[in-house]
């Protein structure tokens, strides 16, 4: 049976572990055996974003050591994957051997929908949801990794689901990690905009591929429109869509 190693983002580990469980469930349903290395911790993105590269390198080396024996690795956060693929090389600029190890690992690292559609070669995962779904294009998934068609194909294949247009779907929701806390008023204006577009879309559910976006948009909805839900695509595809994520 095909095995795939799971890279679970720190936000999922601490705040949204159920998404990890949904991912496991989903992969098993697709005939893949998910492997979870319990030694994993964090890709280092928070330190990199704050400019603490020395500290970030510690996280990066640990991640590389945990995962470099795996043939295929799948993650449910575009920003974690982007950190490994695009930020690790400059992190290890002065260290060719770690840099080579990072690049080697990056070549075997996939985003969930990318993995399902392109590696497993399937668009129908047996998902079902009666209603309209809007898809938010997370910044790292869309622009850093170029992934957009894959999640939408998977959503469209879900039985009973109509994928409706989300205006300005690719506009940043205002998370940006520490940004949301350091520049709260700007972040608020951005997440409100995203909420408004969601409300205007007429969708019953907002689906997205990035845990950070989910915390941000979900957290804003919880305060202002608790009747509207947002879920991670892993949860949606695993059949946990109607439960919501809040």
């Amino acid at each position: 049976m095909r095995e795939v190693s799971l890279l679970i983002p720190c936000l999922v580990d601490l705040l949204l572990p159920e998404i990890g469980v949904h991912t496991l469930r989903l992969l098993r349903r697709l005939g893949v055996r998910p492997v979870y290395h319990r030694e994993q911790t964090c890709c280092g993105q928070p330190a990199i974003n704050a400019g603490y590269r020395k500290q970030a390198r510690k996280a990066a080396r640990h991640l590389i050591e945990v995962f470099e024996g795996d043939r295929e690795i799948v993650s449910i956060s575009g920003s974690c994957i982007s950190t490994v693929k695009h930020r690790y090389p400059e992190l290890f600029e002065g260290d060719p051997s770690w840099r080579a190890r990072a690049e080697e690992l990056a070549s075997r690292l996939f985003e969930l929908t990318e993995y399902i559609v392109e590696v497993l070669g399937t668009e129908d995962v047996g998902a079902a949801f009666e209603g309209k779904v809007a898809y938010h294009e997370s910044c790292h998934v869309l622009r850093a990794l170029g992934i957009s068609e894959q999640p939408k194909k998977l959503i469209r294949s879900a039985r009973g689901t109509e994928l409706v247009e989300l205006k300005q779907a690719d506009l940043c929701c205002g998370f940006g990690g520490e940004f949301a806390n350091s520049f709260p008023r700007i972040s608020e204006a951005m997440v409100k905009e995203k909420q408004d577009r969601y409300l205007e879309s007429g969708a019953d559910l907002l689906v997205l591929s990035e845990p950070g976006c989910l915390l941000n948009i979900g957290g804003y909805l919880s305060r202002h429109h608790p009747e509207k839900r947002a879920v991670h695509i892993a949860s949606f595809l695993a059949g946990a869509g109607t439960e919501g994520a809040n």
Partner: protein, 481 residues
């Protein structure tokens, strides 16, 4: 323009409260992006066009000193006088001296960001030469003594009533009007008189072609054409990164510039000057001075990473692409350059210590990078500045390392190296944050993460992290059926 980069947050808050400004910005964001898309769509292969633009600007950066020397040689051979200025004081002194020597009473000016950077207008005024901005938007903000709202539309947010009052007071308009066309015509008449008799015109430079010694300007109004062609003396000021290798390269960058900036295939006017006027020509400048300005750029150039910022062709495409700019507009960036390019340039020219909010206030969404025809990786540069700032790097005048924050990340680095320390840290974090949880939702952090909780909730941290759940799931799997 005196930098106000330290007032970013306060200025941003003011702009967020200005609903009229926000409505305008929102329109601009959508309109600007749509225009750019449409413009780029006129290329048979837009992606390749962007890639070529990046390659050309990359070559400029790689060959900068040799291209500048080549440009100087060829421009001089055509009869232009090429002058060099290390900093704003030197550049202003040069231009003021040129005006003084020629008994110039007033100059007409084309829109030029580098001239704003130099504070050229103040220097001219101090020496008794009246600088008259002639781009309509620049004219308006100059007369109102107000900073520009936006790179392309400096006065676009100003109400017509205010412009009407201004034109009646300062531009000889006889009767009030709220019709933009009538107001435009009044400005035409007033500025026309200035163009007719002007003796020195000062412009910027969009591109300086090394292989031919030609300077190129783009515009829609015609005020730059007038400033070049009516007076006896033309002074064109360029920051040193404006050079391009060949005319073919200049034409490709021109195509990218006008599409990226305004969604246009080309602006109304593009003028290419190769030296002053020739024998027998009745108009055109008898003298053409080209001033090459450094003002901190050669120092930036010495830094292999920072120098990437010099690729910029000032198209402004990054502004409507930026979701943050879309909410706060140009003022909070506090200097000549606003939006993502302001976040990338101002720290290099003013120092990291003076501009901290500028490179922190970014979600790294990458929209700017995707829209850039010059191949600038804004997110990578901002991360680089954050790292230099955290490490206390002297080279870019970073501030002191923030002690508390650095210690926090040291702690984090300890936790992150082993799962057991990570899990311990997680339990600790859970106990703190969950103190305020109610029915599975945290709405306040009692001091922690106050910015987050201003408008958002967090789910209560689950009793078991994924680490702990996984252990259970494993046990379940291992259990015999």
């Amino acid at each position: 323009m005196r930098p106000a980069t330290k007032a970013f947050k306060a200025a941003a808050d003011r702009e967020l409260d200005d609903l009229a400004s926000r409505a305008l910005l929102s329109l601009f964001l959508q309109y600007g992006s749509a225009m750019r898309e449409r413009g780029m769509g006129t290329f048979p292969d837009p992606a390749a066009a962007l890639e070529l633009g990046a390659a050309i600007r990359g070559e400029v950066i790689a060959r900068l000193p040799e291209l500048l020397e080549e440009f100087e040689r060829n421009a001089t051979a055509r009869g232009a006088r090429v002058l060099w200025a290390r900093n704003a004081e030197e550049a202003c002194a040069l231009v003021v001296e040129l005006a003084r020597e020629r008994g110039i009473r007033y100059v007409t000016k084309g829109k030029s960001m580098v001239n704003d950077e130099l504070g050229l207008n103040e220097a001219l005024e101090k020496s008794g030469v009246e600088p008259i901005e002639t781009d309509l938007g620049e004219f308006i903000v100059q007369q109102l003594k107000r900073p520009p709202f936006h790179i392309v539309g400096p006065a676009i947010n100003i109400p017509v009533e205010e412009i009407s009052d201004l034109f009646m007071e300062k531009a000889g308009m006889k009767a009030p009007s709220t019709d933009p066309v009538e107001l435009g015509y009044a400005a035409r008449l007033f500025l026309r008189g200035k163009f007719r008799d002007v003796e020195m015109g000062i412009t910027g430079v969009n591109m300086a072609v090394a292989s031919t010694g030609t300077i190129i300007n783009v515009e829609n109004e015609g005020n730059i054409r007038f400033s070049k062609s009516s007076p006896r003396t033309q002074v064109s000021v360029m920051s040193l990164e404006k050079v391009v290798p060949s005319m073919d390269d200049a034409l490709h960058m021109l195509r990218l510039l006008t599409r990226s900036c305004m969604g246009l295939k080309i602006t109304s006017y593009v003028t290419m000057d190769s030296g002053p006027r020739k024998e027998g020509e009745i108009d055109g400048p008898e003298e053409l001075f080209i001033v090459i300005v450094d003002n901190g750029r050669s120092r930036v150039y010495a830094d292999l990473k920072a120098r990437e910022a010099l690729r910029c062709i000032r198209c402004g495409a990054c502004l409507p692409s930026c979701p943050i700019y879309g909410k706060i507009g140009g003022y909070p960036y506090g200097w000549i350059y606003s939006g993502p390019i302001g976040q990338v340039l101002n720290p290099l020219l003013l120092g990291l210590g003076e501009t901290r909010d500028l490179y922190q206030a970014c979600t790294l969404c990458g929209s700017c990078k995707a829209s850039c025809p010059a191949g600038i990786d804004h997110p990578a540069l901002l991360l680089e500045y954050r790292a230099r700032d955290a490490e206390g790097g002297r080279a870019l005048e970073g501030g002191k390392r923030r002690f508390g924050e650095a210690r926090l990340f040291d702690l984090w680095a300890l936790a992150v190296r082993r799962a057991w320390s990570w899990n311990l840290g997680a339990r600790f974090l859970r106990s703190i944050l969950n103190r305020n949880q109610r029915e599975g939702v945290i709405s306040s952090g009692a001091g922690l993460l106050s910015g987050w909780f201003l408008c958002r909730d967090l789910p209560a941290l689950p009793r078991r992290s994924f680490h702990e759940l996984a252990r259970e799931l494993e046990r379940e799997e291992a259990r015999p059926e």
